[in-house]
Every structure is written in structure tokens, then in C-alpha cells.
């Protein structure tokens, strides 16, 4: 199969996946014990209010009808209204999307850079004090709770230097950049240690490969071996790691948004959960699932370009 064919096929495969995700999101509402409308309204709500909630959410219709209606609405960008503020869920998500996307992208890029550089240096200097101190740092990074790392950055960097805001998303592009530095650093502290450990092991194994010895014997320098050959192998591992870790990444970003008071999706989700605002919970869950699917899809497509041995079936 050609690569274009493979990509088309992978894209088509996401359609049933999306349908499954939408079903799970819809069932979220029914996962609450008892009557969802009553649960949303609260114990003190009158019977009329509960009935109204039931009609608003379409809970009086059969499940297949609810499902088809939900898909139809979602395709038109309508994810319902918040039961608290009455605003449309789509507009709430649109408002909150930017800080989260910023955090995830800058955090990921920073984690990739840090883990590639550190693991390559560690592997080249295996079993030296430099390597050991990096290993100690990664163990530290894995061990400390994310919110604590964030608080420490606020206490030790933001407050004394005054260079970075301690909360909010700032105004304009430079404001956004400025306010994302510490959250992204926190993200990297939480995510890169695992990547460093995996990549370090991979680099050490790669340096023992015959083809590295043969490249040296043919006269290639260490730089050429690392940047022209080993980076491709490392990139494959990184792509897999990111695909696998995208779940923990989202969890970490929720905690970071709370720590730095970033007005992102994670904060909106936490608020919605505490207020039992189910349409908003459903909407954010859907967006998150879409993001995870997108990351996996991108990872598979990139891998198909990098790894000639991958069968494009």
C-alpha cells in the first residue's frame, strides 16, 4: 500500500473511533447513579425543574435517538448549553482552548528538547558523574508532585525576579509567551524524566550497535553519527513515548492550569465537575478525546515516514 493510501486509511479508521467516543461521552450522563436530571438539578429542585432539565437534555427520548441527535448536533458544532451559566458549551470551549493548547504544545516541545539533549549527553558520558547527576535529577523529577514543582517555580523564580506572572494568561502574544514559560517548565519537569530515562537507554543501546562502529570505522565523526543517524532512531522512540504519554500529559496540564490559574480547559473541567455541569463535562471530554486521537494519528503518520520497516497496511 502506498503511503497516501495508508494515511487515508488511518484517517478513515478514526471515523468509527469518533462514533465510539461520542457514545461514551453520551453515556457519561447515564453513568451517574439514579436519574441524571435529578442529579443535575440537585435534591432541592422541584419536579417541574427536573422535568425541564430532562426535556432540555433530551433525556426523555430513547437512547439511540439521543445518540443520533447528539452526533448530529456535535457535527454542527452544537454541544449543548451549560446547565449553570446557560452559555453554549462550544463557546465556553472556544474561550478556554487557547491557554491549554499553548501549555500542551510549549510543554511538549520543551520536554522533547530537554529529554533529547540530556539523554544524548548522558549516554555519551555513561557512568560518569555527569550521567549520574542527570539520573539523580530525573529521579527527582519523577518523584516530586507537579503542583509542588509549579509552586516552587513561583516561589523561587517568579516572585523574586518578577519576570513572570504568577497567574493568568497575559495580554497579547508576548503576554501569552511570558505567562506560559513557568507552566511549560513545570510540564517539562513532570513529563521529561520518563522520556529521558527511556531515551538514555535507547541511546546507550544504539551506541553499541554494529552500524555505529562501522560508521566510525568509515571515518564518520561523532556529530554526524549522532545527528544524521541516531536522531532518527531516537525520534521513533520519542513519537511512541508521546503517544503513550498523552493521557498523563493532559492530567498534568489540568494540575498546572490550576496551579498557575491559567484559564484553560482543565480549569473549566474542574469547575464543571464540582458544579455537576454535565454538558460542559461532556464537551471537554470530547475535545480531549479528539486531541488524543489526533496525537496518535500524527504519531503513526510520522512513524510511517521515518521507519521503512513499518508495513503500510
Amino acid at each position: 500500500m502506498s503511503r497516501a493510501g495508508y494515511i487515508a486509511k488511518r484517517l478513515l479508521q478514526t471515523v468509527p473511533l469518533m462514533a465510539g467516543i461520542l457514545l461514551m461521552v453520551l453515556l457519561l450522563l447515564h453513568a451517574i447513579p439514579g436519574d441524571p436530571a435529578r442529579a443535575i438539578g440537585g435534591i432541592n429542585a422541584s419536579e417541574e425543574t427536573v422535568q425541564k432539565i430532562r426535556e432540555d437534555l433530551g433525556l426523555n427520548k430513547s437512547l439511540p435517538v439521543q445518540y443520533i441527535t447528539y452526533i448530529g448536533n456535535a457535527l454542527q458544532g452544537d454541544l449543548g448549553q451549560s446547565t449553570r451559566s446557560g452559555r453554549s458549551v462550544t463557546s465556553i470551549i472556544a474561550d478556554r482552548l487557547a491557554p491549554t493548547i499553548w501549555l500542551l504544545l510549549t510543554g511538549m516541545v520543551l520536554s522533547i528538547i530537554v529529554s533529547s539533549v540530556v539523554s544524548a549527553i548522558s549516554a555519551r558520558n555513561k557512568d560518569t558523574w555527569l550521567d549520574y547527576s542527570f539520573v539523580a535529577l530525573t529521579i527527582g523529577g519523577i518523584s516530586i508532585p507537579t503542583f509542588w514543582a509549579g509552586l516552587m517555580l513561583i516561589l523561587l523564580i517568579a516572585l523574586p525576579t518578577g519576570l513572570f506572572p504568577i497567574s493568568g494568561f497575559g495580554q497579547g502574544f508576548s503576554g501569552h509567551v511570558n505567562s506560559i514559560v513557568l507552566p511549560a517548565t513545570t510540564f517539562a519537569i513532570a513529563i521529561s524524566p520518563v522520556m529521558i530515562r527511556a531515551l538514555r537507554t535507547k541511546f546507550i543501546a544504539l551506541y553499541r550497535q554494529d552500524f555505529v562502529m562501522m560508521s566510525r570505522a568509515a571515518g564518520l565523526g561523532e556529530g554526524a553519527i549522532l545527528f544524521r543517524h541516531l536522531t532518527r532512531h531516537a525520534a521513533l522512540i520519542l513519537i511512541t513515548m508521546i503517544s503513550v504519554q498523552v493521557g498523563p500529559m493532559i492530567f498534568v496540564s489540568v494540575v498546572i492550569e490550576k496551579t498557575f490559574a491559567l484559564p484553560g480547559l482543565g480549569q473549566a473541567l474542574v469547575n464543571a465537575v464540582s458544579q455537576r455541569d454535565f454538558p460542559v463535562i461532556q464537551g471537554i471530554t470530547l475535545v480531549t478525546a479528539l486531541f488524543v486521537t489526533f496525537v496518535h494519528l500524527t504519531g503513526d503518520i510520522l512513524t510511517s515516514f521515518l521507519n521503512p520497516k513499518m508495513s503500510l497496511k
Binding site: 551506541y207 553499541r208 550497535q209 554494529d210 552500524f211 562502529m213 562501522m214 560508521s215 566510525r216 570505522a217 568509515a218 571515518g219 564518520l220 554526524a224 544524521r228 543517524h229 532518527r232 532512531h233 521515518l306 521507519n307 521503512p308 520497516k309
Partner: protein, 321 residues
Amino acid sequence: MSGLLDITNLRIDLGQARTPVSPVGPLDLTLDVGECLGIVGESGSGKSLTLKAILDVLPEGLVRGAGTLRVMEQGKWVEPAAKDLRGRKIGLISQEPGAALDPLMRVGDLIGEIVRLHSGCSRAESKTRAIDLLRQVGVPDPEKRATFWPHELSGGLKQRIVISMALACKSEILLCDEPTTALDVTIQAQIVDLLRDLQKQHGLGIIFVTHDLALIRQIADRICIMYAGLIVETGPSAEIFKAPQHPYTRALLAALPDIEASSGNLQPIEGTPPNPTDFSVGCRFAARCALATEACRAARPLLEKTERGTMVACFHAGVAP
């Protein structure tokens, strides 16, 4: 014959060991223009390490502890650093062609990279040169094969690619580390023929490491027999096969199946070679040798000339067991 490579007192050390451990050496090697030197020994005798030490591409933990390496450069002996020899003067061919090529690069690009490195030519030019090299080493349909990934080629073709990379910049010396061991017999013969042709065409000096005595008999002009990191016997191939002097060489040849021998029984060498950490002050073969005496255990015999033009390191050289 004119000299090409001269190695004296080469020793390989275990890097981190507290008490010095030297799995290989000290040993001397010479190679003439157009000559094929065979190094024969059991697994673990240090023959592959010796080759890798020449280019200083030893595995992690091992270092070239001592030794001077000189090459002939325009009529003069010079002593260059190993990294200046790599791919310029000396090329290496390894045992496992499958592992010797980066699996994530097309073979044309792999060869092109080496060509560009040494000649500094353009990308387009290196592509044509790569295809020329592929043709030289007998790869059919080289334009098409250059676009293949390593895993799409057979073992024999992969080994041809490795050879073309070793030759990419007109190396004068080819170090062959069991280049045919991983290949099946018919392909083995093709690769050996190719190496011989290249040797004739370019006047290459070849050091050929193997444990295959039958093969070395065909191709080597001179032979070094290695045991436990040392050369125990060396000399012209024909002489060594006709009249081996060292008990180990005799035992090796006795372990070789002979199609004309009436008795079908092979004689294995009892025991195993010693571990580098257990090397004794005496002859390292003494523990497995039927002729060993107190003298053998007390001091190590050094290589000495025999009247047959070979060199042997044994107090009982030539004595029939």
C-alpha cells in the same frame, strides 16, 4: 614486496580493571601491498579485537593500551592517528552485514554519505559515485538498488554494500572481520571471489580474520595463528598447512575435516581457552597441551624463527605429540 602496514607491540587493555588485564597482545603484525594476511583462531582468541584496535573502534570498555601503528605513505613510513586512517587508508568489513548498515537510511544514501565525507563532492555527484561503487562490487541494477532500504536486500547484497562503503575512498587496506561467516556457502564463495578481484584490481592489502581454516588456506598468503590473545605461529600459508610446528596449530588442523582422510574421526581440542583474567605467566596453551612441561608453565615462549621460514612460540616446536 613493499610494506604497507606495520604494527608493533599492540596491546588491548580492559579499561576499568584495577589490575591491568590485557585480552590481546602484545603482538606484531605486518602487511605488504597486495598481500592477504589471514588471522585464525577460536572464538575469543582476540582476532576480531585486533582488527578493531587497528582503527581504534574497540567496543566499550576496551582500549588500545600500547602499540605503534605505521603505514606507508608515498614511500615513507608515517604514524597517523587512527581517526585519520578510518575510511581513507583502511576500510573495515564486519561479520554481520545486516547489523552494519543503518536500517533507517537508503543504501545509496549510506554510501553517498561516506563518499561526500572523504571527497567533499556535491550530493548529486556522490549519488553517481555511489552507483559506480555498487556496480564495482557487482550489485546488479545498481541505480534501482541504491534506492533500497537495507532490510530489502539479501545478506550477500548487504555485504557487497558494506564492501563498497569500505572502498568508497580508495582504501589501500581492507580489514575483513569474518566477512563470510553469516552468509551461506554459495554466497560465501561469491564474496571471497569479489574480495580477490578487488585485491588484484586495486593492489589492496587484506587482513582476513576467520576461524574457517579451509577458507583461509585458499586466500591467505601468510597466516597468523592466534591463541588467547597472542600469535603462537605465523608464516607463509603453504608452510603452515604443510608442517605446523606449534601444538595448537597441529591440533587445529587435526580438528579440520579432511575429505581424503580414511578415518572419519575428527580430533577435538579438549578444554577451553583461558579467560583473560586468568592468563598465566607461562604458555597460555599449556593447560590444554599434551607436550606441556614445567618450563612451559614457568615462562612464556616467544616467537622464534624456524628453518622453514615461519615463526613459532613454543619450547617444543616441531616435536611430534
